[in-house]
Amino acid sequence: MNLRAMSLPLWAATLVAMVGCTSTNDRPTAAWVTLFNIKDQLVAGSAVVEPLGLPMKGRYRLSMENNLSLDVIPAFDDGEPAAYVTTEYWQGFSDVWVQPMYVMAQEMKGVIQPISGALPVFSVGADSAFYSPYWRVFFVVVPPGAPTPDFRTTRAVLDSGYPLVAGPGRLCSLAPSGTDLTGQLRLPTPVPPLHPLLGTNIVGGVGVGAGWVDGISQPVSVVSFGDDRFTFAANGVVNEDPLYVFRHQATALSGPKLGGLPSVGGRGPAAQSGSAPNNRPSFGSYWRLHFVDLPSTAGVVVPQPSTAAQTARIATIMESGLTAAEASPGVQAPHLFFRPVLDAAACAAAINLAFNAAPAQPIPATVCRFLDSEAHIQERLPPAKVVRSEITATCPFVTYQGQPVPLLAPAPGAPL
């Protein structure tokens, strides 16, 4: 190119082009995914949760009425069966904050009572990067004799001048209308679904309600998990805990692949070990995914499948390249089935041997090296096999310590 012969406009265009080509995008793409996004993706036929690449299968489905349905996801926590549902994801977020929600209330004999029928006001919508399902309740104390307010915005609440009394943290996910747990029956008393692998009635229910969202003219549906299901720091940042998600380690032919094994809950620095009054853990609703890379020999011991959920789960595990070793017919050891283990085939053989002996023998711990707790994972795997991810998620327990997590109403008569 003859630079001297270039005209001024050409110089300018060249300069702009050169400047424009120097852009560098070295930051990971950050995103948050809500139940609204997930439903939209399902309706569009997506098989994975975009942009995270996590499979929809086993997590979400569309009901016959085209409503979003949350599958109960099996897990283990501290060696005991657990289960959860997932309502939100974040990728590339260092922090998630609690946001205020306003609940209309009255003070009666020194006790604050929520006003039945008055919808709460949520201060941030799901399309904001600052949305989170972790709300700090502020009771709007309506003076005696005043009519029940119809507040629909934060502005209306604050302009009222009514006293605000800080309440508990409440876990409520804004959701498309009709969203519910898969299999939960809406009877006068909700009947929650069965545990997907154990087939037992150890799943707690969720509350479904509605509230006003600042800036939205119609009430928005809400899926509620109740109060005191998470903790947060003084600056409002929600405390996170590690959730161990197993995957088949990368091979020469493919990258790591999610294994379909039940995940394992851990404890973050702020979690109070065993703090689960009335079997409602105050930790473990905001997880950071830690991927655990396993060899092909790892997997689970499974029974002869008796339910469609079990059949589907076994297929997923085997498709990932991990092992689903079947126990002999007649082995009655549900507490050992679907429990992540390092050498699944050897463990299955040991279980068969032990249960077929007369009398039955204990399972040798050196053979069945289970990965069913944070302690076991840290003890039995080198640290390099555990990869802290950029993904965090809202995954509240609905089963904990093998028992349902009850949905306690925040207070008698509360709308959620």
Binding site: V16, V19, G20, C21, T22, S23, T24, N25, D26, R27, P28, T29, A30, A31, G92, F93, S94, D95, W97, V98, Q99, P100, S123, V124, G125, A126, D127, S128, A129, F130, Y131, R136, F138, T153, T154, R155, L158, D159, L164, D214, G215, N235, G236
Partner: protein, 435 residues
């Protein structure tokens, strides 16, 4: 001459000829006001000149409430998405009486003078200019440094800002064409013309000033052609810069974070009759938002402005529309420090001002200019409610003797939608000593 230019742009020379252009550019005040490059005729200096100038803006402000737009009990995160933090402005820089330091903001807050709701004297701005030009004015170097002493929650702090630093070349004596490289005034709209306390009729900027009055680092070009038969002129002003026209507290100009320039420009029409002037303009800006690193995340502004001068009466107004894309990385890089997320944002609004410049017969009090301005702003961050705020500003400006300007202003804010109602009106006085 500076003082006269500040009093009323209406008094600027009408329909300058091309011959006057080259003479006049050598005697400009150096305010980089390309839209008004000719501010009166003066003989061409005999040789190169180096001139220093400046001003001291001493203020007094009394804001209602706690000096902010926040009400107790508002614990939303971030705390700057649900209120108009810029409402309680106290000086020509748009600094506010106070901001809410008790909760996390996301970088959409102005500078603060930290006085809360307590009346206080202020050193609003100490400004010093250095201007050097060659004999015929075709080459000019200009630097403006400003200091703003403040007492904030973190202690005594004096921000020193290089407001402008540029070189300007006028390659053709016979054409109104100027090239500017460096940090200079924006080219968008008209409110940047009033950035300095010496030039602004009132004290505080409009509700839309945060989007249009920042200085920009880059290159710009100005061209104007006269249409003598029509007593008219057409002008165009374009710029390629590191960042947008937002004020310095919102987006930086010191570096391009994306590697791509922000392009902006204004096209103007002037009707310059002896006793009547009308100036119209349309402006636009497009480019990456310079508070994150993704060049694909853009921002767009457009606006329209009008000014009318007749018999000492000045009517002016501007409409501005702002759109910013949502970021896709959990970072927001602001001059106030790193923040969390560059949220999708939209705003639109206008201001309209009437000022009447009354010449007075006394040497010690040459001119009085009562004025009133109305503004409206509608804005929304994604996921947060739409905020509608209005502002009525009224006051009077006195030009005393040669080098002193005294202004008094009442600023009434009204939260009309979205933001909680809060007492955040301001009374302010500004005394500007020019040297």
């Amino acid at each position: 001459m500076r003082r006269r230019a500040a009093v009323a742009i209406a008094l600027l020379c009408a329909c300058p000829s091309r011959a006057l252009w080259a003479q006049a550019v050598a005697t400009q005040t150096g305010d980089a006001n390309d839209d008004e490059p000719v501010q009166g005729y003066s003989p061409t200096p005999a040789g190169p000149t180096v001139v220093t100038a400046g001003y001291v803006d001493v203020g007094f402000a009394d804001a209602q409430g706690n000096g902010t737009s926040w009400v107790p009990g508002d614990t939303r995160v971030p705390n700057d998405y649900g209120v108009d933090a810029f409402a309680p402005a106290v000086n020509s820089r748009g600094d506010v009486a106070s901001t809410n330091a008790n909760a996390a903001n996301n970088g959409f807050v102005p500078r603060s003078v930290g006085i809360g709701g307590r009346p206080s004297f202020l050193l609003n701005t100490i400004s010093a200019d250095l201007r050097a030009s060659n004999a015929n004015g075709s080459y000019l170097v200009f630097v403006r440094a400003q200091a703003m002493p403040r007492f904030l929650a973190t202690g005594e702090q004096t921000q020193v800002l290089i407001e402008q630093a540029f070189a300007r070349v006028i390659p053709f004596a016979s054409h109104e064409f100027a090239l500017t490289i460096g940090k200079a005034d924006a080219v968008f709209g008209i409110e940047y013309l009033d950035n300095q306390a010496t030039l602004r009729t009132g004290i505080t900027p409009s509700l839309m000033a945060r989007y249009t009055t920042g200085t920009q680092l880059g290159a710009k070009a100005f061209y104007r052609t006269q249409l003598p038969r029509l007593w008219s002129a057409l002008s165009i002003n374009v710029a390629a810069t590191n960042g947008p026209t937002f004020i310095e507290a919102l987006q930086t100009q010191s570096a391009s974070l994306t590697g791509r320039p922000v392009l902006s420009g204004r096209a103007g029409y002037e009707l310059n009759l002896p006793r009547f002037q009308l100036k119209l303009g349309v402006s636009a800006l497009q480019g990456p938002r310079n508070d994150q690193r993704q060049s694909a995340k853009g921002m767009r502004l457009w606006g329209a402005d009008a000014r009318l001068y007749v018999a000492g009466l000045s009517l002016s107004g501007e409409y501005v529309d702002v759109q910013e894309d949502d970021g896709d990385a959990a970072e927001k890089l602001t001059p106030l420090g790193p923040r969390f997320w560059a949220s999708e944002f939209e705003a639109r609004g206008f201001w309209a001002q009437a000022a009447w410049s009354i010449a007075l017969p006394w040497r010690w009090l040459e001119r009085a200019t009562p004025y009133v301005r109305l503004g409206y702003r509608r804005a929304r961050f994604e996921g947060f409610p739409q905020l509608d705020v209005a502002r009525l500003t009224t006051g009077v400006r006195f030009d005393l003797a040669e080098s002193v300007v005294v202004k008094g202003e009442w600023l009434f804010n009204q939260e009309r939608r979205g933001a909680p109602n809060v007492a955040n009106d301001v009374r302010a006085i500004s005394v500007v000593f020019i040297w």
